[in-house]
């Protein structure tokens, strides 16, 4: 064991070590595991169950049939799972700042964000992943998509990009917690709520002002809607240029880089609560 300062553990190893510990801790509660996973599937399933009931009665939503709607929902949900699995501890941001827990993260020889993201974990997002991939698989044959290798790659890029868009918004707002102490309600009750509510619908059913807001103010359309239109050959009905829809997966990495820098920038404003 050489001295830590001269021979630090590489960043990726720090991350993996802490990740492993967080998961081991959570998997101790076997009894609750299965129920939590079922709960995870159902939590996000409410929206799809609603769409299903509406389509069972009226046949479509905004001209989209059940297969297309389920595909859109599946893309959104899988993207959501892809960021909430590694980043679910963002939930505890306010609490950690208020209790002065960042004191510890700042003096230990590992990345601050790495430590914060892995102080524990929540297994419920695994339920989202199961639900999302399940819906996606079921819908991919029901929806009219030509499954070429390019299409599959584009879908994977979409999920990664969509996950990064949602994650960046949450990470960025978490950065504000260093100054404001509390951003949970804004992040979860407002932003995440909008994402979960509106993310699974063709935006054509909304008034144009809202369509604009959900594309350019809160980039919800970039998570799943725009790329889903590309795969479903529906770019003709969009109110933005088709090339923008094609490029939608690129927004995620750009936003994430900005959010990451912003979070570390805001960390400088952290004041220990002294407890």
């Amino acid at each position: 064991m050489a001295t830590v300062a001269s021979n630090p553990v590489p960043a990726h190893r720090q991350y993996l070590l802490l990740l492993h510990a967080a998961w081991r801790g959570q998997l101790q509660y076997r009894g609750n595991l299965v129920l939590t996973l079922i709960g995870g599937v159902l939590y996000q399933g409410v929206g799809l169950a609603f769409v299903w009931a509406v389509v069972a009665k009226f046949g479509h939503v905004g001209g989209w049939g059940m297969g297309e709607l389920a595909f859109l929902y599946g893309v959104r949900l899988t993207a959501h799972a892809a960021w909430t699995i590694p980043f679910n501890r963002l939930n505890s941001m306010d609490w950690m700042v208020q209790r002065g827990e960042f004191d510890r993260y700042l003096i230990r020889p590992a990345g601050t964000l790495t430590q914060f993201l892995n102080w524990s974990t929540n297994i419920q997002p695994l339920g989202d992943l199961i639900g999302g991939v399940g819906v996606l698989v079921a819908a991919s044959s029901a929806a009219p998509i030509d499954w070429s290798p390019t299409a599959v790659l584009y879908l994977l890029a979409t999920i990664a990009g969509g996950a990064l868009v949602e994650c960046s918004l949450q990470l960025g707002l978490c950065g504000l917690s260093f100054r404001l102490q509390a951003t949970y309600a804004l992040r979860m009750n407002f932003i995440d709520n909008i994402m979960n509510n509106f993310g699974g619908y063709p935006l054509t059913i909304f008034p144009s002002v809202m369509r604009f807001a959900l594309t350019f103010l809160l980039p919800l359309a970039f998570v799943a809607y725009l790329p889903a239109n590309v795969l479903l050959h529906r770019t003709g009905e969009l109110s933005v240029a088709p090339w923008l829809a094609w490029c939608a997966p690129l927004l995620g990495p750009l936003l994430f880089a900005a959010a990451y820098k912003f979070w570390y920038g805001q960390l400088k404003h952290y004041k220990s609560s002294g407890t």
Partner: protein, 275 residues
């Protein structure tokens, strides 16, 4: 459990005390109200847009009973049902599990009033704390969604009357689900499952008149619809007052019995954790 040691008046005072403590606890966190309100309004607005989009151009659709449901009636339903569901379910679910986890349940058991009654009253206090917020939220909800006058004077009285058993059934259901903590200790999974079943079968998203056949039958035979669908359907003249009240009272009796039974079993399982 020396329940017999207390006069009814003393017992009532004790219950009121338990409720008051929970009411105060809830009011401490009123800062989040603005964003929770925005979250509710987002939900209502979204459902309104979806029903707007799927409804036939004629402005009416045929419900399960064969009668016509006007779009305005449907939107008024969604608005009232969501506000009501919000009132009943914002109080949180974590009461008993927390007491079991921390071992403080031992103190509750030593009190000279029955534990299940303490819990139901505590939950009632939590719901009562949401009342002022609901009063503030209602006009905004009606603005974002839509309002309709009650179908008749009788329907208006019937609505107010049916709200009482609706609240009681909701309190009993929540307490019953929380009691599972005595068996499993960890309950987050159960709660999410309950939330899904509750939201859907209560008719908070889709009224029973638009549910596909088998789902409607299932919903009719479950207690959840008595908490949300039943009162709103009475208000809009879509369900008879007396039949609804009869079913609600029946559920109150069944659930009370179930709570007794479950408590009787739980007492044999109590594990007091920690010191």
């Amino acid at each position: 459990m020396s329940v017999d040691g207390l006069a009814p008046r003393q017992r009532l005072a004790a219950y009121a005390g338990v409720a008051r403590v929970q009411l105060r606890t809830q009011l401490v966190y009123r800062g989040d109200f603005l964003f929770r309100l925005l979250g509710l309004l987002v939900n209502i607005y979204m459902l309104r847009l979806v029903w707007d989009a799927v409804y036939p151009a004629s402005g009416t659709a045929t419900g399960n009973g064969g009668h016509r449901i006007a779009l305005a009636t449907q939107i008024a339903y969604v608005t009232l049902a969501l506000v009501q569901n919000w009132l009943l379910n914002s109080g949180g679910m974590g009461f008993i599990p927390q007491r079991v986890r921390e071992g403080t349940v031992a103190v509750d058991l030593a009190r000279p009033v029955r534990f299940p009654s303490q819990m139901v009253w505590a939950q009632a206090g939590a719901v009562a704390a949401q009342l002022p917020f609901t009063v503030v939220a209602l006009p905004f909800a009606l603005l974002v969604g839509g309002a309709r006058p009650p179908a008749s004077v009788g329907a208006a009285f019937g609505y107010l009357l049916s709200l009482l058993p609706a609240v009681l059934i909701s309190l009993l259901l929540t307490t019953l689900v929380q009691m599972v903590a005595f068996w499993t200790l960890e309950t987050s999974g159960i709660f999410v499952i309950h939330r899904f079943v509750q939201q859907f079968l209560a008719g908070a998203l889709v009224p029973l008149w638009f549910m596909p056949g088998w789902l409607r039958v299932l919903a009719e035979w479950m207690p959840f619809q008595a908490t949300t669908y039943a009162p709103v359907a009475v208000y809009l003249g879509q369900a008879g007052v007396w039949a609804t009240l009869g079913v609600q009272l029946l559920w109150c009796a069944v659930l009370l019995m179930l709570l007794r039974l479950m408590w009787w079993r739980a007492l044999r399982r109590v594990v007091v954790q920690g010191g």
